[in-house]
């Protein structure tokens, strides 16, 4: 038995689902941010795996991964700064406490 593309896809799908589950049940903003990172990295595994098993070689999948990594970093930078602001304004990083708007 050799390790084929299926294994990579299963790992990536599992990571993606763990991230999604974490976003839905975690209440701490930092955990949520980490779960988002997990989901984005699951996609990176997917892209690189597909790219590796292509019948005709091209590098577009790996190129996409480069962009996706940088975008994830930018998102995290903005996210951390915003969490900092939320903590300053609400004295908490629990997302359930952020309920000043309703309707």
């Amino acid at each position: 038995m050799t390790i084929g593309i299926t294994h990579f896809l299963i790992i990536s799908a599992a990571l993606f689902c763990i991230g999604l589950y974490g976003i839905l049940i975690k209440r701490n903003l930092f955990s949520i941010l980490m779960c988002i990172e997990l989901m984005l990295n699951a996609v990176n595994i997917n892209l690189v795996a597909f790219n590796h098993f292509l019948p005709t070689p091209n590098l577009s999948g790996q190129l996409m991964v480069l962009f996706s990594i940088t975008v994830a970093a930018a998102e995290v930078a903005v996210g951390l700064a915003l969490i900092f602001r939320v903590y300053r304004d609400f004295q908490t990083v629990n997302i359930d406490k952020l309920n000043s708007m309703k309707g």
């Binding site: 896809l9 996609v43 996409m64 975008v71 309707g103």
Partner: protein, 473 residues
């Protein structure tokens, strides 16, 4: 390498960087108002210069198919430019009250670059970069109200749900890549394994991700909170630019990349658009905050634009383009008034709008015209736009959808007129609101255009025809 086709993007990006540098060189106590004037000037020249870019010949791909430069893209670029110019124009005063005003201008310009890239995207790589450039700028922009607790809450909610949708979209893109071995829209649609399980799952995920950005019900949960908490100009831009860009790229993906599946998409889109029109309009009725009301109304407007996509004909697309244009005009009018009121009265609830007709007659009039245009009352442009959309979709056989849209437009008149009633009745506290020249210019442009395109829709319709036909071949 032909850099000519991306000159709008380059210009905007250089302008954004130049504003940052100028800000660093200026002494910190100096006013940042000139930066706003520079922005408006450069963007106006750019928007006008794009008129000469419309072409009759079949448009070409650029940069190995990454970039598509057709009339459709040019039309949307002009639309985004118009939205940003008018927004900056009416919010000059508002931005002056902010601590980081020059960064605010640059951030808006970065978001604009993202939208313009989205309009030309012909590859999932370009699409992804444009989408992220736009959304990440908007995350930061919605957190710009540093003195307002609601602003940080709005921004963090937008960030979490926005990045979730990014991850979902990207996962969908990776699945499509797995079946098609390419990101190019033209290759994806010719892919022999298009209807494999992976391909269908990828299509669904990409669509869901774009629906998040378009705030289609049931993917809308971020929209009301973010719209309410963000600074007013940002709310306006989110409602106009972000939504129009998502619609532009959605139509491109649907009719280029997912073309073999487009017929299967239409009934689904019809249901979503009906849910959007019903849910958005009903939820808007019970709102007490004007910004929140406009958020739900913008959800309903996205539903109307989806009606045109369901028609899947040049007429339908033309209707969408027409509607998107006048939607921007009506929204600039409404948000300009909300901005001024938020600045003067420190709030955007219905009470703050009481007797606005006595303290600022111009603003009350502009607000009324804009809201009537959104409701689709003749002779405003909204009527012509809805007429195009519903006519196109009836031709395609969705009579029930046009019927739902018609009923919901009637219902929406209720809550739009509620605002008008509040503005024209009630006791004034005797204060008058002074309106600066820039705001006056912005509101008058939007009001005049709304009325002119309502009475003579053929001029705008010529342009939209031109843009729609070269696109859906």
């Amino acid at each position: 390498m032909n850099l000519y086709v991306i000159y709008p993007e380059i210009t905007v990006l250089v302008l954004a960087l130049a504003l940052i540098i100028i800000d660093l060189l200026l002494p910190s106590e100096e006013t940042r108002r000139p930066l706003g004037y520079i922005t408006i000037l450069v963007l106006s020249i750019l928007a006008i210069s794009l008129f000469w870019q419309y072409h009759l010949t079949i448009s070409a791909y650029f940069y190995q198919g990454l970039f598509y430069y057709d009339n459709y893209a040019i039309f949307f670029k002009q639309l985004f430019l118009l939205a940003v110019i008018l927004t900056v124009l009416f919010s000059l005063q508002y931005i002056d009250t902010m601590k980081y005003s020059s960064e605010f201008y640059s951030m808006i310009l970065f978001a604009l670059t993202g939208m313009m890239i989205l309009a030309s995207a012909n590859d999932f790589l370009t699409f992804f970069i444009g989408l992220e450039l736009m959304t990440i700028s908007f995350y930061a922009l919605s957190g710009f109200g540093l003195t307002n607790k609601k602003s940080s809450e709005a921004a963090i909610k937008y960030l979490i749900i926005g990045s979730l949708s990014t991850a979902v979209t990207l996962y969908g893109i990776s699945l499509i890549y797995g079946t098609a071995h390419s990101f190019d829209f033209a290759v994806v649609c010719k892919n022999p394994e298009f209807f494999s399980a992976l391909g269908i799952a990828g299509m669904m995920m990409i669509t869901a991700g774009i629906f998040f950005k378009m705030s289609i019900i049931p993917f809308h949960m971020w929209a009301p909170d973010t719209y309410e908490g963000a600074p007013v100009p940002v709310t306006g831009l989110l409602a106009m630019g972000s939504k129009a860009a998502a619609i532009a790229v959605f139509m491109r993906i649907l009719f280029e990349a997912f073309f073999p599946a487009a017929d299967y998409f239409m009934p689904v889109l019809a249901v979503f658009s009906a849910i959007c029109m019903i849910g958005g309009n009903i939820a808007a009725m019970k709102q007490k905050n004007i910004k929140r009301m406009l958020a739900y109304s913008s959800i309903a407007q996205a539903g109307y634009m989806m009606v045109g996509i369901c028609a899947a004909s040049p007429q339908g697309l033309k209707g969408v383009l027409f509607y998107a244009f006048l939607y921007v005009l009506a929204n600039t009018g409404a948000f300009a008034v909300v901005t001024v009121v938020a600045l003067e009265k420190k709030g955007t609830d219905y009470e703050q709008f009481t007797a606005l007709s006595q303290s600022a007659p111009v603003l009350a009039m502009v607000m009324s015209v804009s809201l009537l245009s959104m409701a689709g009352i003749p002779p405003t442009a909204g009527f012509a736009g809805k007429l195009y959309l519903f006519m196109a979709v009836v031709e395609h056989g969705y009579l029930w959808l046009a019927f739902v849209g018609f009923i919901m437009s009637m219902l929406s008149v209720y809550y739009y007129l509620k605002v008008v009633r509040v503005m024209y009745t009630g006791k004034s506290d005797g204060s008058t609101i002074t309106i600066s020249g820039a705001v006056r210019a912005a509101v008058l442009i939007s009001m005049t255009a709304t009325v002119v395109f309502g009475v003579w829709p053929q001029y705008l319709s010529m342009l939209t025809d031109f843009a729609a036909i070269t696109f859906l071949r």
